[in-house]
Symmetry: C2
Subunit: 319 residues, 2 copies
């Protein structure tokens, strides 16, 4: 398949490499001339504009930060192919792409590194790749095209609405970045820096991510992140009260016990394989559109994912 990747940072660059390794014909573009040169030096076809890069392709992945997405979408207003993105907030993207041939996506992959130099074609192996399904807004044939592409790269494709995605990632991805930043602030003194060890190292790893990326991610999902952060603050205030009791260790124990149990049973293990026949029996006018969407959403809400797509259906897995 002919595929374009616009934006060649860590995710876009890794995707360019992964698609090429899977035998697709890929073209890339990045606004940064030095990044374009890097990609060309690595042997890739790179256009001189986003429009030039996507010309003649069937799928274009927009791997640019959320603040740059409106400009790229405007530049590609006449693109007849299927558009998707990789940004970590999906509600604003759903609104931006109203009326376009677009399916929102979000690979739950990444490291604290940035840029094409850190690109890794194996980055998506085993990662969860959210592909948004809106019961009355998503063209499921387009959805299937992307699900087939990404599962072939080894990703677990999880169908969910933009709103449910944004709520979930606020708590398990965006808030963790803010907690990591608050913790990183603690090594301002030489003694603290010297004594900081494993719990600090791991708890702050993602604080080293480029500040602009964290700010765009949390800022783009500000309502949900604010709500989830308030919940965390409430929990921490309860812990402060426990610490003020005569026997703080005993007071802390139930909360710490529950948290430890949740962490030790995570990640959920693959459990029950399944199949969703595809395409469904499609009467004229495609009135089936909403029902299959709900079949997919029911899978995603249960924490399940699509493992592969073929001409007669989807192979699925649930924890």
């Amino acid at each position: 398949m002919r595929i374009a990747v616009v934006g060649l940072g860590l995710i876009g660059g890794s995707l360019l490499r992964a698609f090429a390794a899977a035998g697709h014909e890929v073209t890339g573009f990045d606004v940064d001339p030095a990044t374009r040169d890097l990609a060309r030096a690595a042997g890739f076809r790179v256009g001189d504009s986003a429009a030039a890069a996507v010309a003649g392709t069937a799928v274009a992945v927009l791997a640019v930060p959320l603040p740059h997405l409106p400009a790229v979408l405007a530049e590609l207003v006449d693109y007849p192919g299927l558009l998707t993105d990789v940004t970590s907030v999906k509600g604003p993207v759903r609104d931006l792409t109203e009326g376009r041939r677009f399916v929102g996506g979000h690979p739950m992959a990444g490291t604290e590194s940035s840029g094409f130099a850190a690109a890794d074609p194996e980055l998506f192996t085993g990662c969860v790749w959210v592909l948004c399904v809106e019961p009355h807004g998503t063209d499921l044939d387009d959805w299937m095209v992307l699900a087939r592409l990404y599962t072939a790269l080894g990703a677990r494709v999880l169908p969910i609405t933009a709103a449910e995605h944004d709520n979930a990632v606020a708590s398990i991805s965006h808030v963790p970045h803010l907690l990591a930043a608050a913790l990183a602030m603690k090594v301002g003194s030489p003694l603290n820096a010297a004594l900081a060890a494993g719990s600090f190292r791991d708890g702050t790893r993602v604080a080293a991510t480029r500040a602009e990326l964290i700010a765009a991610m949390c800022g783009g999902n500000a309502n949900e992140v604010g709500n989830e952060l308030r919940h965390v603050i409430n929990d921490l205030e309860a812990l402060v009260r426990d610490l003020e009791l005569p026997d703080p260790a005993t007071a802390l124990l139930p909360y710490l016990g529950r948290a430890g149990e949740l962490r030790r049973t995570w990640p959920p293990q693959p459990g029950v394989p399944g199949r969703i026949p595809w395409p469904p029996e499609a009467p004229p006018g495609r009135p089936w559109l909403a029902a299959p969407a709900h079949t997919l959403l029911e899978l995603g809400r249960a924490g399940g994912w699509v493992t592969s797509v073929d001409d007669v259906g989807l192979a699925t897995m649930r924890p």
Copy 2:
């Protein structure tokens, strides 16, 4: 040297193995009969009581959790050798051991694993090992004995007072465990569990530590941990306010930029090697005791550490 290790969990078991590998004659003890059997099966001499294990040794390391320390100290009230501990809070231990031949210690090592089965003789290589120095309370000859033992295991021995230690570890070790627990609470739903990825994995790693250990650690340092947690809550409340502004991404940027800078320049790199002559010129009555203590404390407060001890002095390193 003949050394006893009382308490054969992760730290004590690793220490037993590390001392044995360094050629010391070691004896161990644990209150748990199954752990004693494990250690015996691994080829170690294991006593049937703490008193039996320490008999005839020059140094006894008490590697039991803080709540068990008073009972072990009472059992070893007639022990003539040098006692030390490995617990993560030093003020209460200083108070408990008033008048005893004791130097408090805390290796900044550990994993989310527990127990003798997870013991690793390499656990202390490169780790910071706090050895407490109180200007008018620490016998520095005893301090040197331990500094020589631990640096020989590859640890960086850092001299600091119990109070300064407890304040520092509250912010860079104890609070991180509580933040990890608050974050781990977020994977209660199947969707959240499925979407949680790298930032969640690393941010919650230490939440899998045994709840009793975290509770004892934070409960034993409750005042400092409560204060530091309140500072973190203040920072998070400021971030919530940033998220409510019209342009949250721009509002978040300075804080995230500063946090990222601190994290990227951590850990501090070894920089300036030095030497402290030892023993100092010692007039009768040892009036030098306080001055050398301050020399050591000045090193620790600057984030520096002792790299080795020989008969004429200490080799040191500062970041």
